[in-house]
Amino acid sequence: MTIRILVADDHTVFRSGLRALLQREADLEIVGEAGCADEVLERLQTTQSDVLLLDLAMPGGLSGPQLAEAAAKAQPAVRVVVLTMHEDTHYLREMFRVGVHGYVLKKSGIEDVLRAIRAAALGEFYVDSALGGLTVSSLLAQPAPVTEAPGAVLTAREREVCRWLALGYTNAEVGRELFISERTVESHRTSIMAKLQLPNRAGLVRFALDSGLIK
């Protein structure tokens, strides 16, 4: 069974090069091309296709992520594979969040494109081989949630101070809010950090978020 492909890129040279490479594959067939955002959405309606190869930097009113989202929502049966220059996990995460099935760098070899197309056609997800390392390290960079250990529970006052600090107030400002001295706030802060083994403000904010002190 052949996979019907829609190619969307504003550079004709790119499209023709891609076409030349894809045509060599027996299971793939290019059924349409689009050169701008409007054309993409129009071809999705008029062309029977299985996979949309989508450039993230197309001219038109929509930004790349917006177009990807619109395309993924317009025809859920058509799996979207994004072809992009963005070597970046934030784009990658956002793309999968809006519903694409593949994320491939334009500079990657045709093998990555082929694998992404075939995976997407099966309803699977594919991340460019060059981005595997970045993806893993970004997963690892997600900090573990901070919780209170038994025997290291905050007092009501510390909780209060923690909340204000997590909202971005300085010691002096927290003191004014709670009618206590700056020095007292500082000692509460030291105690909070020690109990929860927090290294800095970011950790404190994370705790406040995780424990529902702030939203």
Partner: protein, 355 residues
Amino acid sequence: MCSRRPLQWRGRRDSVAAPIERVRAAVRSLEGRRAVAEESYHAVLKRRAERGKNILKPGFWRQAWLVLSGLAIALVLSWFAARAASRPVLPLIAAARRTGSGLVDQPAAVPTDPDLAQVAFALNEMTALVASRAREEGRRQLLDRTISSLEDERRRIARELHDDVGQSLSALLMELRAQKSAGVLASMLGSELEVRVLGLIDSVYRMALDLRPALLDDLGLIAALGRQIEELTARHGLPIDFQSVGLEREMPRLPRGIKTALYRVAQEALHNIMRHAHAQRVSLVVIRRPDEVVLLVEDDGVGFDVESIRHSADALGVLGMEERVTLCGGTLTIESTPGQGTNLRARIPLSEAIS
């Protein structure tokens, strides 16, 4: 007037009778004249009294007229006096009006009167203040325009590099690969060209990213900061602890000016830390509250004297951060103690319309 007692002589009566008679006649005549005189005197008095009755009326009107005209003259005189007294104040009033209407290039002339001179000095001080405010406002607007046009230009160039040059290079790469696989291009040459084009793509991509990350416009502040942190950590090996509140997916979007200001301030602060702080840990926090956005950059590095940095080569960086935040209506505070790290905080209010 002599006594009217009749003269009397005894004894020699006849011999003195004639002179006595003469004297009596004289006295009588005198008495008659006196009566006439008295009569005429009374007549004069009477006439006077009658005349007095007759001149009472015209005398009253004359007096009234005199009083009235006196008053009028006094009024006119006092008006002239007041005018004369207020004449030196008039230029001051005019000067105050000029200042009020925004014309601040002409200071008021200083009058000779010492009290008025004080007023003129105070007025000129006020005018100078208004003038400096106006200059400050003009400078602010110019700076605002300069910064936003700088950002627009960067965005435009970055986008052109990325979407135009980068995309063309990608197309060229695709073409090369197609030719190579079709056997049109010698494999050796094809591979070599491919490597070169890949190098070009990378450097163009990096140039665009350094100018202004498309992320900032496409995905927002948190994504752009996240990317920036990944780069810095990869390059310097320093862990940057990043946490945001209320900005996941940045909905609703922060206004572009505020987003850009916070991104640039964080960028500058992080670069300063990498260059000077010798920190072990860096904490970056962005908090969005309904009415404001707060950026906190804290490190545990060597710190510095905040006042002396303003007179050093790094002053421009600090000033630049301050200007960006101030132009958004926010405040930037830097607290640092040598040996105890540095805390930077930028607060930018969000107007009702935006939040």
